[in-house]
């Protein structure tokens, strides 16, 4: 057993921290910290900075522009980014489309898409979920018809994050009705500006706009936009899940919450928060810190490939706990602010703008409820926590 980061890993982390201090625009970090949903143009400068540094696609094979980092280095990079309030960059394009194309795509598709994705010129949304296919992805219905060199798609996608800003959708569609439902699926790259693509925003509880439904009516896509072999979409989706074991653990984000809480509490005390209340909040904060430390070490154990038989259960466990702890962390901030969070707030509101903050809300208040409500989604997307508990049981105990 070796229970410490190597000197090389520590040096790497410091290098990442120096880069973040130099290259992450402070105004973007402040906006990200507030927690409202960022737009493509907000994130663009950070995407550019990572691209120039050669760090935009850490998870890709090196010959396609990956960094060649070890899993532990990728973890350290993501954790440092989270703590420094760096926003996530074009997650679907970089963490899904890129790796799938590297592994399964034709040379022509790689040629067309990989470089523009790395540069940040192409944004993707993920078209997996449908009204009747949520956790049960094999139930996807989106129809396809092959006509010459084209595929014609008809269907209804839902909960599609960033469809309103994406250039393409990676669409999971049904290409065969033969065999088991999961055996007839394919991934198709679908341009969002094609005729017949209709995007309708879905307003969510947090008050932001990030998800949509997308209607596909006789959308014509070139045949070559189908990734890999026909009917291999399920295998491709499984490949993606298998290589992103710990993304949903949110260690960086949790560390961000922990790091800023004492300061937030101090400001509330200065503004008149009762000391006895602060003591209770601090107690919850310390308890949460311990929970996060345990959680973080669960992630490290997964990355180090401790015991492969428990990997799948372990990955589900950190997904469950990551979402639960985020909710706790964000609710603790809400509690510290008390009635300041009651007014509905938007990113445009500051004490000095035309739409001023309500008098009772301090500068810490905007975004707190929005973000806390958003984290409820973390317990739902990527396989609900109930699905994860089922996976844990069947992996470890089912006979």
């Amino acid at each position: 057993m070796e229970l410490e980061f190597t000197a090389q890993e520590q040096a790497f982390e410091e290098e990442v921290q120096r880069f973040l201090a130099d290259a992450l625009p402070p105004s973007l970090a402040a906006k990200e910290a507030q927690g409202f949903h960022l737009h493509r143009e907000d994130v663009a400068p950070w995407h550019q900075a990572l691209w120039r540094q050669g760090w935009i696609a850490p998870g890709w094979p090196q010959r396609f522009g990956g960094t060649g980092w070890s899993p532990m280095e990728r973890f350290l990079f993501e954790r440092a980014c989270g703590v420094a309030n760096a926003p996530e960059v074009s997650l679907i394009a970089l963490s899904m489309v890129g790796p799938v194309l590297c592994e399964f795509g034709s040379d022509a598709l790689r040629e067309r898409f990989l470089e523009p994705i790395r540069r940040g010129d192409l944004w993707f949304c993920q078209g997996f979920s449908e009204p009747e296919a949520g956790s049960d992805l094999a139930a996807v219905r989106c129809r396809t018809r092959f006509e010459g060199d084209s595929i014609v798609l008809n269907g209804h996608k839902i909960w599609t994050t960033d469809a309103h800003m994406a250039d393409y959708m990676i669409c999971l569609a049904r290409t065969s009705d033969a065999g088991r439902p999961r055996e007839g699926l394919s991934m198709i790259l679908l341009p969002m500006d094609a005729p017949g693509v209709w995007v309708r925003p879905i307003a969510t509880l947090d008050g932001d706009h990030h998800i949509n439904e997308v209607f596909l009516e006789d959308v014509v896509v070139p045949r070559e936009n189908l990734v890999g072999e026909v009917n291999s979409g399920w295998a491709q989706a499984r490949y993606l899940l298998g290589r992103e074991r710990t993304h949903n653990a949110y260690v960086g984000m949790l560390r961000r919450y922990l790091a800023r809480f004492p300061g937030l509490l101090q400001r509330q005390l200065a503004a008149g928060l009762d000391g006895r209340v602060a003591e209770g909040l601090l107690r919850d904060h310390v308890q949460l810190s311990l929970d996060v430390e345990a959680h973080e070490w669960s992630v490290l154990r997964l990355l180090a490939d401790e015991e492969s038989s428990q990997l799948r259960a372990g990955a589900s466990a950190v997904k469950v706990r990551g979402s639960e702890l985020l909710l706790k962390a964000s609710e603790l901030e809400v509690m510290a602010l008390g009635s300041q969070v009651i007014p509905a707030m938007t990113p445009a509101m500051t004490p000095t703008t035309a739409q001023p903050l309500p008098a009772g809300a301090g500068a810490d208040a905007p975004g707190r409820v929005t973000q806390s409500l958003y984290w409820r989604a973390a317990a739902i997307f990527g396989g609900t926590n109930e699905i994860q508990r089922g996976i844990i049981y069947s992996t470890l105990f089912h006979r």
């Binding site: 057993m1 904060h285 929970d291 973080e296």
Partner: protein, 365 residues
């Protein structure tokens, strides 16, 4: 980071699991003989004192197995803890009459007498006094909850002399030592021990002052961490036992394991066991730090987290066994008893959360 266990550790773990499973019902004395033969009494002690120089990680693996087997032998309290105290003194330049060798060779076991009636958890303000008289030192006071105390040959007693903490080695058969033995909730043997003007030769006063205070903190942090290792073993065993039971027990014409509520409950028990183990590793890692106060704080945090997980897992294990879980005849409830005792021994989660909170004193004041 590498969490793979070495071949030696695997051997230690597998041997311990096998031997301890076969040893149920063996008397404590016979178990000590076996522990000595297996090299376990030598494990916490350096080669220079006839020990094996085992690491803290090695000890954690062994303690896990003791917890899993619900072993009643006070190995942690009467071998590892005194060894760590003596090592702490030695590292501060205090010479000792080779008690480490005595422990390593399994010739004697030493109880560690710290807790008192009033200052049980406050630390420091001990009322047990060591006084110099014309005819030598005298020890007077009372120590509580000495695990395995009645079965030891001698005790390491923490006392105060002239305002300084000191550590005194007292044979159990010395004049004026009065022992009241009793059982803990989980069946382990404890003793309250009164010292009525016990004569103490100068050589038995092992150390005084800062060295004792520091060694106590250091050994306390190690004991706390290894106690958590014991709990990790106990909770994993109770989880496995429960999964097994759900497979066997039939109600409403089907296995209990077929009910999703119970499956998801078992998933939560795994999550808790997994986090407890992660917290243990995180704490073992913290022992690489030079600063004693950091290690102590890490151990306190470990107790807070692991004790909560143990309470959850061993408690739900009883629940999922139904009425059977409430019986003493069935093993699962004994894990709950073990975790209840462990939670309160060496300070409970509230106590150690307060230790962690002290770091943040600047914020709320």
């Amino acid at each position: 980071m590498d969490f793979r266990i070495s071949d030696e550790q695997r051997l230690l773990r597998d041997t311990a699991r096998r031997v301890l499973a076969e040893a149920t019902g063996t008397s404590t004395d016979a178990s000590w003989v076996q522990f000595r033969e297996l090299g376990w009494t030598a494990l916490p002690i350096d080669e220079a004192h006839d020990g094996l120089g085992g690491s803290l990680v090695d000890l954690a693996f062994l303690l896990e197995e003791l917890g899993r087997a619900r072993c009643q032998v006070p190995y942690l309290e009467c071998c590892v803890m005194p060894a760590m105290l003596l090592k702490g003194l030695a590292s501060r330049g205090v010479a000792e009459p080779d008690l480490l060798g005595v422990l390593a060779r399994g010739e004697q076991h030493l109880g560690v007498a710290v807790e008192e009636r009033s200052a049980a958890e406050s630390g420091g303000d001990f009322s047990t006094r060591l006084t110099a008289t014309p005819s030598g030192f005298r020890l007077a006071g009372e120590k509580l909850l000495v695990v395995g105390g009645a079965g030891c040959e001698a005790l390491l007693v923490v006392a105060v002399a002239d305002g300084e903490t000191c550590l005194v080695c007292v044979p159990l058969d010395a004049v004026g030592v009065r022992i009241r033995g009793y059982s803990a909730v989980d069946g382990r043997e404890l003793a309250d021990i009164e010292f009525v003007d016990v004569p103490v030769p100068e050589a038995a006063v092992l150390a005084r002052g800062a060295a004792v205070d520091e060694a106590l903190v250091e050994a306390g942090a190690i004991a706390l961490t290894l106690q958590c290792a014991d709990l990790v073993g106990a909770m994993e065993a109770s989880m496995e036992m429960t999964a097994e039971y759900l497979q066997q027990r039939q109600q409403f014409g089907q296995k209990l394991a077929s009910f999703q509520a119970l499956q998801h409950g078992m998933a939560d028990l795994f999550i808790a066991c997994n986090e407890a183990r992660s917290m243990l590793y995180r704490t073992l890692s913290a022992f690489g730090q030079a600063d004693v106060s950091l290690r102590r704080r890490a151990a306190s945090g470990c107790k807070v987290k692991v004790a909560a997980c143990a309470r959850q897992v061993t408690g739900m294990a009883v629940q999922y066994h139904g009425a059977l879980g409430m019986t003493t005849e069935y093993a699962v409830g004994h894990y709950l008893r073990r975790s209840i005792v462990a939670e309160q021994l060496f300070g409970n989660a509230h106590h150690h959360l307060a230790v962690c909170l002290a770091d943040h004193a600047g914020v709320a004041k």
